[in-house]
Amino acid sequence: MSVALWVVVPYIALTVFVVGHVWRWRVDQFGWTTRTTQVLESRLLRLGSPLFHLGAFAAIGGHVLGLLVPKSLTEAVGVDEHLYHLVSVSAGTVAGLMVVAGLGLLLARRFTSPRVRRTTTRADRVLFTVLAAVILLGMTATVGKNLLGGGYDYRATIAVWFRGVLTFRPDPGLMADVPLIFQLHALSAWALAAIWPFTRLVHVWSAPIAYLWRPYVVYRRRTPLGVRR
């Protein structure tokens, strides 16, 4: 059971994530978009979308810090457990609240604006459900365990297991005694990874950073040398 949840599930999700992206990129450039609906409704989006996105950036940054950077490294540079806990819980709570508020507004908009509602696809519905689950479970873990509760040092267990998965040395034993709420959060995150390539979330990989140094006006020949197929 433990192997199934903490070894098999992650690798299935990661495989779908990688293969799914390659497949979608090759097959569906036309569908690869943010699927913007701002022309249909902008009042709620104007508040909700920046909250959600900026909060999500912070949350993702926090997860990189918490999961990918080993505890030994932060301690080596003089960040002790107490300081880490303080920073991660406070910043994590703020980021989490932004994400929750943002997603709440965006979902409210989906329901209250008939125009936006009409453009919502099945893929959107699945995505919003899973995304909401991941976020709410994550918030419950952060606020419930680390802010109000005694705190849980996930860097000694979950982070080590997660890095193990990424380096193909998974140790399911590390996850055995992790609190249920963290377990559910992790599982829901794998579900999100598995549906990711089939949803509008693919627009994340198209973040237009290269725009910052591109020449303003783009010229293209009508008939490129070696026609693209």
Partner: protein
């Protein structure tokens, strides 16, 4: 000097009767699909009026086009690159659907399915977006022929700069129609604003297009275009715009809007221009210098040096020859009667307009004078502040002298040809005042009044040696997917539909969109 060719258009506004045939044929060709119900690549506005979308000319609100920063460098009016990337999450300058209008259809089935009864069944308008009952309160040509003008037209941004008493009287004074398509600018703000690099200007003919496979739906092009001629397809989530009917242009045919124009007021031809001079022209300090600056970018195809440079830059002989016969070059450069729309946006637009003389003639007649007497018209052009100020706000960044000069020429042409035809006399004083030779005057008359098809449209076909590559794209049109601009409506059942190019359009990811 780097010579490039641009397919450009001129519209002779005196001839536009506002019949909307161009709009309708364009819509039938390009935007009769779900997701673009509200989109008109070609629309015809009545001026004065707020236009489509509402008040699109108010760049204080929409921040479209370019501006000069404090050091005189060109910058998109919406801000620097970083600022605009940060507003990707919610674009503060994006028009709402209601700024365009909510498209409607009718429940026509009611006419057929209603049970027999004493009354004629009534159909009700349904939103083409949500399918719900709706009240139709606005449209793309809501202000047609000044309909509702006393209520709405004072909001026209071009009237803002004019004096108070003008505003109150304008609907008695003048009115004209303004057909608009994408300007296919030399310095396109939409292309510059596209974060994905999906928008591009074609090197061969200057047509500005959106690569549907590379557009990621960041919608910056929509807000950055000061003419609001890039639109969001709300079904595909991608940008779409006027294509200058490039498949027809490549075949040597005029655009659909031009081909079907009842008034025969559109002209299509080539302009050779110096691509290296574009940016300097776009950043001259005084907006009133932009017109001349843009004219200096255009190259004279009869100049042997220009022709040699064009050849060196890979422009073929038949294209150079077409540029020599271009009606656009004649109207914009030789006769100098065509003017760009809102040059102050600094995009160097390439669809130009011959300002209408009819509002002045109407005013002269309205004052009880004879509009056929050139003296009356000349005085009216110099004395009437309306509509000159208004026309200047549209076509010359507020410089009434430029517009008056063009109207004088048009008026002189009328009187000159009248005298020539009636009693065979040559009114050399009119030639002098217009600064034209008799031959130029008669040729301009022929181009504007007789307006033969072959003279209005001088479109060289795309090259045969490119034909293999072009036809390779025919079976591989990336726009053929469900909801795409080339949507063929021919898809096998199932989750995926195989497109012409062997790629698969995923229906899974496309919303239901319209009510149809």
């Amino acid at each position: 000097m780097r010579v490039m060719a641009q397919v450009a258009m001129v519209m002779n506004l005196d001839k536009c009767i506002g019949c909307h045939t161009c709009s309708v044929t364009c819509k039938q060709t390009w935007t009769n699909r779900d997701g673009v119900e509200y989109v008109w690549f070609n629309n015809v506005e009545t001026k004065p009026g707020v236009g489509y979308p509402k008040r699109y000319e108010d760049q204080e609100r929409w921040h479209g086009g370019w501006e000069l920063d404090r050091r005189g460098r060109l910058r998109l009016r919406a801000g620097g690159r970083g600022k605009r990337l940060l507003s990707l999450f919610a674009n503060p300058n994006l028009p709402d659907l209601d700024d365009y209008y909510e498209p409607a259809t009718y429940d026509y089935d009611t006419l057929i399915n209603a049970p027999a009864g004493p009354h004629v069944p009534v159909i009700r308008p349904k939103s083409a977006i949500t399918g719900r009952d709706m009240a139709i309160t606005w449209g793309a040509n809501w202000e047609d022929d000044l309909g509702g003008a006393p209520e709405h037209a004072p909001a026209d941004p071009n009237l803002a700069a004019m004096v108070e008493k003008v505003r109150m009287e304008f609907d008695k004074t003048f009115m004209f129609h303004l057909p608009r398509i994408c300007e296919h600018c030399l310095n396109p703000a939409c292309v510059a604003a596209c974060p994905s690099g999906a928008m591009y200007k074609r090197e061969e003919d200057g047509i500005v297009l959106v690569d549907q496979d590379r557009c990621r739906g960041w919608r910056m092009c929509v807000s950055s275009c000061p003419y609001k001629k890039v639109y969001v397809n709300h079904k595909t989530g991608k940008a779409e715009k006027c294509t200058f009917c490039f498949p027809r242009i490549e075949a040597g045919q005029p655009t659909v809007c031009a081909e079907t124009c009842v008034g025969r007021l559109r002209y299509i031809g080539l302009i050779l221009y110096d691509a290296d001079a574009v940016l300097d022209a776009a950043r001259v300090a005084d907006p009133r210098d932009l017109l001349e600056a843009q004219r200096r970018v255009f190259l004279d195809p009869d100049d042997p040096e220009v022709a040699a440079a064009a050849r060196a830059d890979g422009i073929s002989e038949d294209w150079i020859e077409a540029a020599r016969r271009s009606p656009i070059y004649r109207l914009a450069m030789r006769y100098r009667v065509a003017l760009p729309l809102h040059p102050e946006y600094r995009t160097l637009p390439m669809v130009w307009y011959i300002p209408p003389l009819s509002p002045v003639l109407d005013a002269v007649t309205g004052m009880g004078a004879d509009a056929d007497d050139p003296d009356n018209v000349f005085h009216a052009i110099t004395d009437l502040r309306i509509p000159l100020e208004y026309l200047a706000s549209l076509f010359s960044a507020g410089d009434t002298g430029v517009v008056a000069g063009v109207l004088m020429k048009l008026s002189a042409m009328r009187s000159y040809m009248r005298a020539r035809t009636l009693d065979g006399s040559v009114a050399s004083d009119l030639l002098e005042s217009a600064g034209m030779t008799a031959q130029d005057m008669e040729e301009m008359y022929r181009l504007l009044a007789v307006a033969k098809y072959d003279e209005r449209y001088v479109v060289p076909a795309a090259h045969r040696e490119d034909a293999a590559a072009l036809s390779a794209q025919v079976d591989g049109c990336s726009l053929d997917g469900d909801g795409g601009p080339g949507m063929s409506g021919f898809h096998p059942a199932g989750v995926t539909g195989r497109r012409g190019d062997g790629r698969v359009g995923l229906k899974l990811f496309v919303g239901r969109g319209g009510a149809a």
